[in-house]
């Protein structure tokens, strides 16, 4: 009678406070350089130490340049202000004794990429991080959510989060996808359908025959973007695929692991559990999705018409007009009428090995189109980079005219040197196409790694081949 979310909630419920809120025990806390400095400062001011040191894992990702090469130190970051933040994380991790995969580490990477791949994210955990894409970890059957900086301080100090319970929603993806349709297309389609506020107030469980058949990497792409549908929490029940993935990454001894696996495989929604909202999607009809506007819900089939104010409900007119103007849509009627300037393959949505393999498959033996001034591939972590290089993917990309980079958030957001210039149009595998997200006045079109790779070769979007 309980959903997976209900069960995880109850299992971590420490107590209910007078206020009516609950204290949830937090198993794992990830930290990065942007949302932690003020939290550490708060901790110091109160003369407190982290409640359970080992629960915390840190890495710098948002500010790091992706052209570092070997033996690069935090001190060498050219942007003085970015440097302060990264150095501050080094300092805080040293002072408090928190484990950090620092800028020099071969295991450094985007926090949501390294957590699962280093075995720190385990099914059934509660996981928080001062970053909204923490929902990513839900792909392994965790209750994972993004928090603000005040809460980062709170979790450091008390190992608990003060929260109210969310409502339950289930989204079932049924069927087999068409060619060239990836989990990115499927989650973008969902966001287009329910809107960026469609999941607000909910924990979304993803299920259905499609989910059962896909890899953990693909599941992470879906849970990653739950927040783009408004849901703080996205999650998928652990199954054999999950357990196999975790076993491969795990540092646990075999006896402990065996016990855990038994528990994990039983961790799922009861058959007769009640969801406040249920959505079933037949995925066979979904085409590759590309965003045209300034919100992830402004998404269409790659070959559809771009909406105009006249073909929508009146209260949407203004949003469409503003987005068209910002995106420089002008007279273009389809996405394929737009000429692209840059291509970015990376981010915590799509920088894992499977993503890079898919993109490499498309670009192999071809060359980046003349109108593309820069096409970059940014592996999500040191380990992904190493794996890709072992498979020769770096060479495939480089021979096609792409630039192969060091791990980090990169062009997903304009905090590090990888940015769009004003009015540049970018094919991006990231998760947010908000105004200015990739750089001042930059224009972002979200899509799958497959479509981004094809756009690099073709110069604009089209049917990948």
């Amino acid at each position: 009678m309980k959903t997976l979310y209900d069960k995880l909630w109850e299992e971590h419920h420490v107590t209910q406070l007078d206020s009516g809120e609950s204290l949830l025990y937090i198993d794992r806390h990830y930290l990065h350089e942007v949302t932690s400095p003020q939290a550490f400062e708060g901790l110091s001011k109160k003369n407190l130490k982290p409640w359970r040191l080992e629960a915390n894992i840190a890495t710098p990702d948002h500010n790091v340049p992706t052209t570092r090469g070997n033996n690069f130190n935090s001190d060498q970051i050219k942007d003085e202000i970015s440097k302060i933040q990264v150095v501050e994380l080094d300092k805080n991790c040293n002072i408090f004794g928190i484990k950090q995969f620092d800028i020099k580490s071969t295991k450094q990477g985007i926090v949501h990429v390294i957590g699962p791949e280093l075995g720190y994210t385990l099914p059934g955990m509660t996981i928080v991080c001062g970053d909204s894409h923490t929902s990513t970890h839900g792909a392994l059957g965790c209750l994972a959510m993004g928090i603000g900086t005040s809460e980062v301080e709170h979790v450091l100090a008390t190992q608990c989060l003060k929260v109210s319970k969310l409502k339950n929603m289930i989204v079932k993806f049924e069927g087999t996808p068409a060619d060239n349709v990836t989990s990115k297309d499927i989650v973008l389609y969902l966001i287009g359908l329910i809107g960026t506020a469609g999941g607000t107030g909910y924990a979304i469980e993803f299920a259905g025959s499609y989910i059962e058949g896909i890899s953990i990497e693909s599941r992470m792409t879906i849970c990653n973007m739950a927040i783009e549908a408004g849901a703080k929490v996205g999650l998928i029940a652990p199954d054999k695929t999950t357990v196999d993935y975790v076993r491969e990454k795990s540092f646990l001894d075999s006896e402990t692991l065996k016990k855990a696996e038994e528990y994990w495989l039983n961790l799922k929604t009861d058959d007769d559990a009640n969801f406040e909202k249920e959505i079933v999607i037949d995925i066979a009809k979904i085409k590759p999705q590309v965003t045209w506007g300034t919100s992830p819900e402004m998404v269409v089939n790659f070959d559809d018409k771009i909406p105009t104010p006249s073909d929508s409900a009146e209260d949407d007119n203004k949003n469409i007009e503003l987005a068209r103007e910002y995106m420089g849509i002008d007279t273009a009627s389809k996405l394929s009428d737009l000429v692209f300037d840059k291509v970015f393959i990376g981010s915590c949505t799509n920088s894992r090995i499977e993503d890079l393999r898919q993109a490499a498959e498309i670009v192999k033996g071809k060359f980046v189109a003349d109108n593309i001034s820069e096409a970059i591939v940014v592996p999500g972590s040191g380990l992904v980079k190493e794996q890709a290089e072992n498979e020769g993917l770096d060479k495939v990309f480089e021979e096609a005219g792409f630039i192969w980079r060091d791990p980090g958030c990169s062009m997903c957001l304009g905090m590090n040197p990888d940015q769009l210039k004003p009015y540049e149009r970018c094919a991006s595998t990231s998760n947010r196409n908000f105004e200015g997200r990739q750089g001042y006045l930059g224009r972002t079109h979200l899509m799958s790694p497959l479509m981004a790779a094809y756009t690099a070769i073709n110069g604009t979007v089209g049917e990948p081949s």
């Binding site: 708060g42 506020a197 304009g414």
Partner: protein, 215 residues
């Protein structure tokens, strides 16, 4: 508790931005997240709309090219304590900097038909009151702004807005209202439950040892 009764009333002229889905990247662009401070974000609020040039952390408003069309750049809205918008305000990233920027600018209440979950939560940690209203009220308020300045008064404790003698009730959990009024520190409150947390943790270590294993 702030003993002056002023703390319980937020009043004045409403500034408004007629848009859905104003995300935290709009409220404060990523460039300014590089600050390691918790204050001083007022000049960067809605940076992309407020200025006609690309800003940098540390560059003050006086050195920028102001967009004269943008509402918060004009009297009397540059002193507004109340901001009106539409659907899904504060969606996107979890950055608390978005709330810090509103707070530092002097915004004490944001009225919208819905809010991003993490943003909503962050507001209460910084004494900014997010008020959810039905869409018809939002529409009415926007209509009121068309010909004249809209002046309202918000009674936090009674949870009501007084708009030209018309009373609009709003819903917020009481404990959240208390947080705005008393400005309680969450860490202090939670640490009163220290023993419960310790006992919970002990049990968990016994039952789920893998959570606590180290590499």
């Amino acid at each position: 508790m702030k003993s002056n009764s002023e703390g319980l009333i937020i009043d004045g002229i409403v500034a408004y931005i007629d848009r859905d889905n104003i995300d935290t990247d709009q409220i404060i662009p990523t460039e300014y997240l590089k600050s390691i401070k918790k204050f001083g974000f007022e000049d960067y609020l809605f940076d992309g709309w407020r200025y006609e040039d690309d800003g940098k952390l540390g560059v003050k408003k006086e050195e920028r090219i102001i967009n004269k069309e943008f509402i918060l750049n004009n009297e009397p809205f540059n002193k507004s304590k109340i901001l009106l918008s539409r659907d899904n305000f504060g969606c996107g990233s979890s950055r608390e900097h978005a709330v810090w920027a509103l707070r530092d600018f002097g915004i004490k209440a944001v009225i919208a038909s819905s809010f991003g979950d993490i943003f909503y939560n962050n507001c209460f940690k910084n004494s900014v009151l997010p008020i959810k209203l039905e869409k018809n009220y939002i529409e009415m308020m926007f209509n009121e702004t068309k010909d004249d300045l809209l002046e309202i008064s918000i009674d936090i404790q009674k949870k009501e807005i007084n708009l030209k003698q018309k009373i609009i009730k709003f819903e917020v959990d009481d404990f959240l209202i208390d947080r705005i009024i008393y400005g309680l520190d969450d860490v202090d409150v939670t640490l009163k439950e220290k023993n419960k947390i310790m006992n919970f943790e002990k049990e968990r270590i016994k039952n789920k040892p893998w959570i606590f294993a180290n590499d």
